[in-house]
Point group: C2
Chain length 340, copies 2
DNA sequence: ATGAAAGCGCTAACAG
DNA sequence: CTGTTAGCGCTTTCAT
């Protein structure tokens, strides 16, 4: 093999198999019409040469990349991981590959990512949340591909939506605690600025409390997102200092909820005897800790599955005759457990 | 705009800016030599047309994709998320984009992913662990790009390695418990088959116990990976049934360790009074739970940072004169906390 | 600092 | 079922 320096191309495979490059191309597609015999011969030649199909050329010529761009706030978050996992599963038989990026809860970083990703010519793009920079909106609107906003219900969606109302979900939990006779209820969240879902949960808390005629001023801001276990513990400490009479704490996530729980335990405060605690997200830990944590299951996987299905359907139609933007609702469910 | 149907190309931008396409191309590169005035004019034209640079064409012509393929076992794992996060940070100023995939701890799935990813012509590829299918090894060896195996110290590396000995790390913890006078120590892990790092940790446990002249037969297999909180709790229940005299349990991860801890607490078994527990990975929860969990910090972030740096250095040199494969060691550290 | 020509490796479109 | 021709949108290379 004198030409061993260069990576082999379809032409090399074609020569070796004694067919035209076009036939080799067909042999590497699923549905294309090539005789079984020819296909075998071609694959043998490819294997012998160590040929690896070159998507970059295919992408350019066919104007299809097979990329689905997906942007989430954080890699290290079981909820978003579940969403992406379910999306992957749902898309297993389509030939889309996920191009995953994360923003660290920063919409400027989201803008950078969206711009980078669009250069790769994905066939659709999935973003988390409904709040974006103006430039991000413009880029997405003009991209000419399906866009899906998830984990939220934006008032003015860019295109499709698969989500739920974070505010309403927390409302369910307020109702639950109130039904149990608790009135002095606080909320533990992050700084409102960048984590819009966290902010919506806080809004929902305030709205629901007011609807019950209760004061909604027991609010602790635990710093920039993500508010994790440590921040939840610190926030609970602050809560107990400022409002020693608090009867229940609703936390922006199960992680902060668990932190709050441990802080109570360190102080000998009984949960749920002295204080009830609620979380958000149905993370593993909420089912495992002692006591188990009352939470809201937002059905992260269902969001991913529905998004995958929607994308798949949209891409079956040519861009011309795609249906009107969809708005798919997921319905979070309160899961009452040991913590109140 | 009569041609609004089509996505604008560099030619459109060039016409509008009154320059040649080549100049537009240069204006979109960082270092290229274009006069400030021309560059401004071109960017204005691009913005006006809604032009978005097309990487697919650039990739083909320049034979560079800017992709770094990264394969991890699971998205939903804080350790791997930290590694990827640190890698991203380290590579921020290079112009590499991570193409992330996960295998669900299945080396057959890894093979599928490697093959898919290589078609995208990444400039380097990072995999987790040192055990692969034969075909995966062959594909990686012939890919003609730098390969990095991480989170392990394979005996026969494919190319570069950034990792540590999982066995030796667990040995440290055995030594620690033995130094505290404990002798009846058990190990909680997963089924050995697919999670090779978990298997290595178990091997390390057995070897270290034997080195101390202790029996190493208190082994619980908690099912296929990942062994999470629930499985850890179940495994501890099994352990207590089969070996009620056990003095310490070393768990394959902090998640299973936390599960084991809660199981003890549900049964009124004092930790560390009656039984000591150790985890692995320095997950957030190990620092937050009550008691805090003794663990091993494998420095996930450092693995990512070092890998990113290595890839960056390797890609600076043309393929011809790259240095010999590197073997970079990370040194896990025992973190003694409240659980024993 | 800018331009002209050629072509990266594959596949759409058409032909047979 | 298989082949031919042309070209996707950029960038390499060589000029100027």
């Amino acid at each position: 093999m004198t030409r061993s320096a260069k990576t082999p191309t379809m032409i090399d495979v074609a020569q070796r198999a004694g067919v035209s490059p076009m036939t080799v191309s067909r042999a590497f597609k699923r549905d294309a019409s090539v005789s079984d015999d020819t296909r075998r011969k071609i694959h043998a030649a490819a294997e012998a040469l160590g040929y690896v199909f070159d998507s970059t050329a295919s992408n350019l010529r066919s104007q299809k990349t097979g990329f689905l761009a997906v942007i989430i706030p954080s890699l290290n978050n079981a909820n978003f991981a579940d969403t992406v996992g379910a999306m992957t599963t749902q898309l297993r038989d389509s030939d889309l590959q996920i191009l995953l990026g994360y923003t660290d809860y920063d919409i400027e970083e989201e803008e950078r990512l969206v711009e980078q990703f669009l250069r790769r010519r994905p066939e659709a793009i999935v973003v988390t949340g409904g709040k974006h920079t103006g430039r991000t909106r413009r880029l997405l609107q003009n991209a000419g591909i399906p866009v899906v906003e998830t984990w939220d219900l934006p008032e003015d969606p860019i295109d499709n939506v698969v989500g739920f109302s974070n505010a309403a979900a927390v409302g369910q939990m307020v109702d639950h605690f109130v039904a149990r006779g608790l009135t002095r209820i606080g909320f533990i969240g992050g700084d409102e600025a960048s984590d819009t879902r966290g902010f919506d949960r806080r809004r929902g808390f305030v709205a629901a409390m007011r609807a019950h005629g209760l004061t909604a001023d027991r609010l602790i801001a635990g710093g920039p997102p993500p508010v994790m276990m440590r921040e939840g513990a610190q926030a609970m400490a602050d809560m107990l200092t400022r409002w020693p009479d608090v009867q229940a704490a609703i936390c922006v996530s199960d992680l902060s909820g668990f932190g709050a729980l441990t802080e109570c335990q360190r102080r000998g405060i009984a949960v749920p005897g002295d204080i009830s605690i609620g979380g958000f997200g149905a993370y593993d830990i909420s089912a495992q800790c002692l006591p188990t944590l009352t939470t809201i299951d937002a059905f992260s996987s269902e969001i991913g599955r529905a998004t995958g299905q929607l994308v798949d359907e949209l891409l079956r139609n040519p861009a011309r005759d795609r249906p009107a933007p969809q708005r798919i609702m997921v319905h979070p469910r309160l899961v009452v457990r040991g913590s109140g």
